[in-house]
Symmetry: C2
Amino acid sequence: MSGSKFQQAPHKLLAIPGPIEVTNEVLDAISQPPMSHVSPGFVKIFKECMDMTRQVLYTTTGMPFIIAGSGTLGWDEVSSNLVEPGEFVLVVNNGYFGDGFSDCLRAYGASVDHIRAPLGDAAPSIDVERALKKRKYKVIVVTHVDTSTGVLSDVKAIASVAKSVSSETLVIVDGVCSVASEEIRMDDWNIDVVLTASQKGLGTPPGLSILVASEQAIKVFESRKTPVTSYYASWQKWLPIMRAYDSGTPAYFATPPVNMIYAYHASLKQITSGLEERFRAHQKASERIKAVAKQLGYRQIPKKPSIAANGMTAIYVPDGFVPKDIIPRLTEHGIVVAGGLHKEAKDKYIRIGHMGTSVVDEGRGDIELIEKALKASVRK
Amino acid sequence: MSGSKFQQAPHKLLAIPGPIEVTNEVLDAISQPPMSHVSPGFVKIFKECMDMTRQVLYTTTGMPFIIAGSGTLGWDEVSSNLVEPGEFVLVVNNGYFGDGFSDCLRAYGASVDHIRAPLGDAAPSIDVERALKKRKYKVIVVTHVDTSTGVLSDVKAIASVAKSVSSETLVIVDGVCSVASEEIRMDDWNIDVVLTASQKGLGTPPGLSILVASEQAIKVFESRKTPVTSYYASWQKWLPIMRAYDSGTPAYFATPPVNMIYAYHASLKQITSGLEERFRAHQKASERIKAVAKQLGYRQIPKKPSIAANGMTAIYVPDGFVPKDIIPRLTEHGIVVAGGLHKEAKDKYIRIGHMGTSVVDEGRGDIELIEKALKASVRK
């Protein structure tokens, strides 16, 4: 499948829920000599990244913000640009990352209410409806896939219910662990912000914060009454820059991470060449890995298959085993996986990532390798 | 000089004041397959980056913060961690970047006073002394080299005078355009924070915010009375992470940009192999370029040689020429330079960067190429 002459150094398979394995084309792109961030060549690449990011999220009118940072920076963007101090935010919280986003919102002065789902569960949209009827929320925040548990939220249903109860409320999706591995149709589903990072489904090394805002979100931002409460994350600074690049003109606020942008561009070209096929490949790989894990006595954290992510698997280790023995065994068999992260079950489960080229390029044999390693992990 | 088998793609010489040309070793390192950010291999590389960053700044006790972002993010770190809302900050302002830092400080609630130097000049330390005697400042901020004008401030003298008048005032140096091209002795000179980015003297592609804080700065941070006013830039989040990596243990707040860290590591290894030699090489190259420019009728923006940076040259184009003709001519002759940035003289001058491998590796012939292109630029 790879047309690049670039050869990756031999290494163990990176099967954590981000960073993930990347293609030869991505590594070839990242190693190009840096060019000027205001040169016509770079402006073209950046503009194409904006357009392809829109494509991945099925939006024609969304405004992408692509900034040096980690996924977390997207939380700052939402908290400091779309919420004014004292305004109410509803967080649909199903784990570690819901807690983190809430912390961030509070740091910038928001009043945060929660709908909490128990470990392994997703909050039902009826709870969202009830909460929105009780109080006026400026924004509602949902983690699409909580990387700590692999729980997938039904963001389509939540956005639909939210907009029908309160059309002015902005729907924010934390898609760090879902963009390009789960379908998200921003325009059709009425989602106002999707924020993510480069190192998961987007198949690029970590180092880019990627966020797309709807026209409604931009309007809400532009009609703020109080000053933006951040600087590096401020859309007052970034919006003119993104608009300039979007119209083919360079502009300067902070130096863009040019090599990371080349890498992202190379990955987006591969991703947008077959988006629906890509989602299906993620589903297929996920089903295979989850089925093998089940046979071996591993137990899913998500309580139902319908709320389990397609880009990762979070599983309790079989009885009689502990992660601190299983993880090194998996490494011996060639795959690097992640330990638990959710505080209630930290030492009882492991997390496996299966996103991007590992699931799309079957010739790599990555899914077979994960299956083999899982089987070896519980052999006596 | 290069021992790497990696070959860069042919390209025009990047001679802007950042991003700069990088070595084959740096591009080889950035194109390694991503590894887990909590693996022992990555922890070792990150820890070595922290130690070598200390070496570059001649500090043994400073705490480095290395985060995905641009240099600007360092402003947010200072403004939201070291200054509490309403506290007074003195900005020694000699251009575009002093204005930017002030904006950032105000966004987080600081009360900002300025000492402004006219275009091409640096504020004398006597003015700093006078200001500090009039009012108690929490921090004083100095841009070491203002990338918009090439003016070099005497941060050693300013820190000395500041600490003698008000020992509790923290001295903050914006070293984005000076670290590794100008000498900075953090411990000896009593500097509390040096903030910078990866893409200038540090010879790495853009995408890393790098900041080192003194023990006094960390103490001031730890004795804050009000909550930190940012999230992604919050040391409450980052300090435990940096301390963990510093002691050889992984920790997680936001995913570090692993490939950027490999690249930074490769560059730091080259930089720390001969730091004083490197500073001399920058001085020598700078003198050569400035002398040639003078012969050709270009005129320095910095009013005296003693306040001209060694890593870049900002020059008014000769009479009868305009930058928008000169810049494409320079490109035709193989070098990419930057236009003006300071609002008072934007369309009258150009900026040339001469940092990192371009000045250290004489075998590349970069300085000769810049000289030749400059000569060709004014030929009738």
